[in-house]
Subunit: 380 residues, 2 copies
DNA sequence: GTCACTTCCTTCGATTTCGAAGATAGTCCG
DNA sequence: CGGACTATCTTCGAAATCGAAGGAAGTGAC
């Protein structure tokens, strides 16, 4: 039921191109892969025989013979992916092209420790597979997002805050003891960035900011996730310019998170006598034009924007995609834009897009799918 | 006399591995290139026949037969490289492995405009070639560094400050009219980063800070220069936290450059009645333990370090190499280190090295050589 | 409809690349 | 100094890849 993908050599590249939607025909594959058309035909033949690809009707003509459209076979396999939060886990099954077959959310206390939590996720995977995957369709990979830093070398959780019992835990090894498959363990903001990247196909350098309870950020460089030492993309503990002085949970004064995160805004609102329980409530207040909320969100956007100016000058991204529950509040993005436009170098902002994230709520799951496909295709 | 490198297919990879010093024998090449040992032998044979590689004695044994050492043939060709400053140009000839054959500095006013300046460089190249290159050894590429932003797509100079007449000038095209060869035009800090990268062979992610009259920075991601839209790496116009308010030449208040550049330090020293004419003079004052100078340098280091904290958290480099004339002042690097260690996330600084640049004065020329070799090997 | 043209895909001989086996040339140790 | 071992490099048949040519299946103009 669980098998590694039986691909070798150039087959992997071709399968990837079809799975990511970049190629739909043998001709596309020849153009994009650099292989000779004849070699492509041979490999595609093998992939069809292996049950990984399928021919399905024909595509639109580009002025000549219509291409025979290639698709991933529905029996090619599924990926089991999860995104772990503090009090719940979002999980689902994807086909190899990253399309969700089923997604659901379950409650789950991360404070219960890694073993209990991961077993809970694995049990949920088993249930979903039993309910939604026909017999004979194998699982090809298992992945999960973690709300804390993950060392890319050892794939263990390192110095997480609010995750008691997880420090130095070898998440990948524990999952590997249950699944003999490619295993992905990655920071949740990084997964979100990887998922978002698919929606910006012609853009090589992205920053994806997640504005929710905390402030996360993932970076795509040259189309690939930049991990650094595992903390890459962190912007929440940058010092902001401020008159007063607030000590952040990390011990340093005046972190961005202490001023502009959903948690900080909720504290400020409740001090003003306005009751909110989730960051999404703030969006509602902004839509209802509650002045305190709008002003707070605008302020948060300006602060985030000011931090981004440094990074835009340095990194010159093509796109800054803003996601997370707070991103639905329009003033947030508007004021981020204003701060960046005002202060950055013209060359850096010339073609820069600052826009709401496109991938939606399942961004992290989609990102896990994208990275898992990559892992399944290269590690053979 | 000027010819493109006659390499095709896998030959390029092999030549690059030898030129960059990563491989010295056929066995090295087989290991590093992923090709079969037999294929490597065939290609090497061709490269030797083409006069690009040469066999030279044998290397050290690793417990078995000694390898036959491969070297670039001295007749393989030379690269002509320059690094343009405001009032002078440093230029030289390198062999294909990036070793300087001759380097010299000439005065040259960038304000004379692009045509006069570039022709002056090209004339200098011709003189150097006539004097130092035996007949029959071809030029394989021409490159120059520019003290301003270069659009990587069109390779034209964009919105430079202090370079009258250069805006939108197509530097590469102008050089191409004189040399039918691979042409490189790149920002000088980027070249310096590319040159420095060779001295940190096992490090994939570098920031190279150039602390001189101005403050430049180049970024190496995954071993390759990150260009962004042409301004990537800029850190000089980041806003710093400050009580007073200084307007920078760029029009914005409190840019890092206005506080921590060599130019700013010189202004502050002369206001204190201490006369200096070049940033290097400041280093002398620090060595002589002049308290005003030491204090200023320490302050500048702290400010630069504070900006770097943001970038270290975000980018997680393996190394920050500090070069430029000011970097010879020890307190500069010490205080950069202190600021970064204090404020950054532990995961980001765990194995981070902050060290003086290793490539020396010719870093930019070496970088130009490295990038030109790349261009000469891939563009065929 | 037919003719010129374009794109898609396959066939087939030529070329390149591979990999196993072997020749070559060392080291290390008793 | 001889034998076991290791690493380097080459030889040669097998397998993969290529590219030119051609068939298949369209579009668009007249």
């Amino acid at each position: 039921m669980n098998e590694r993908l039986p691909v070798q050599g150039a087959q992997g590249d071709l399968l990837r191109l079809v799975a990511t939607g970049k190629a739909e025909s043998r001709a596309d594959l020849a153009r994009l892969s650099g292989l000779a058309a004849s070699s492509v035909s041979l490999r595609v033949e093998e992939l069809i025989d292996a049950g990984l690809l399928a021919e399905e009707g024909s595509g639109a003509s580009r002025g000549g013979r219509r291409p025979r459209r290639l698709r991933l076979s529905p029996t090619a396999g599924v990926l089991a992916v999860a995104d772990l939060g503090a009090h719940h886990v979002r999980l689902g099954l994807l086909d190899l092209s990253g399309t969700p077959l089923v997604v659901e959310e379950r409650s789950c206390e991360i404070a219960d420790g890694p073993r209990a939590t991961l077993d809970r996720i694995a049990d949920a995977f088993d249930e979903l597979v039993a309910a939604h995957v026909p017999a004979g369709v194998p699982i090809r990979g298992v992945g999960t997002g973690i709300p804390g830093p993950v060392d890319p070398a050892t794939r263990r959780v390192v110095t997480p805050s609010r995750m008691p019992g997880w420090n130095d835990f070898l998440v990948a090894d524990h999952l590997a003891s249950r699944y003999d498959l490619p295993i992905l363990v990655e920071n949740d903001a990084n997964l979100m960035a990887a998922g978002e990247a698919r929606w910006w196909p012609d853009h090589e350098n992205l920053m994806v900011v997640k504005a929710g309870t905390g402030i996360g950020c993932g970076v795509i460089v040259n189309g690939r996730l930049h991990r650094g030492r595992g903390a890459a993309g962190d912007i929440s503990h940058v010092r902001v310019r401020s008159d007063s002085s607030v000590i952040c949970a990390c011990g340093h004064p005046d972190c961005l998170e202490a001023y502009a995160s959903g948690a900080a805004l909720m504290t400020a609102l409740s001090e003003a006598g306005i009751k909110v329980t989730r960051p999404a409530d703030i969006v509602g207040l902004v839509h209802d034009a509650v002045p305190e909320a709008t002003s707070l969100v605008r302020n948060a956007g300006r602060r985030i924007g000011e931090v981004l100016t440094v990074l835009v000058n340095f990194f010159n991204p093509d796109v800054i995609a803003v996601g997370g529950s707070l991103s639905a509040a329009e003033p947030l993005i508007t004021s981020i834009r204003a701060a960046v436009w005002e202060r950055c170098l013209p060359l850096a902002t010339r073609d820069l897009e600052i826009a709401p994230a496109r991938a939606g709520r399942d961004a992290a799951l989609l990102g896990a799918g994208a990275l898992l496909l990559e892992a399944a295709l290269t590690e053979t």
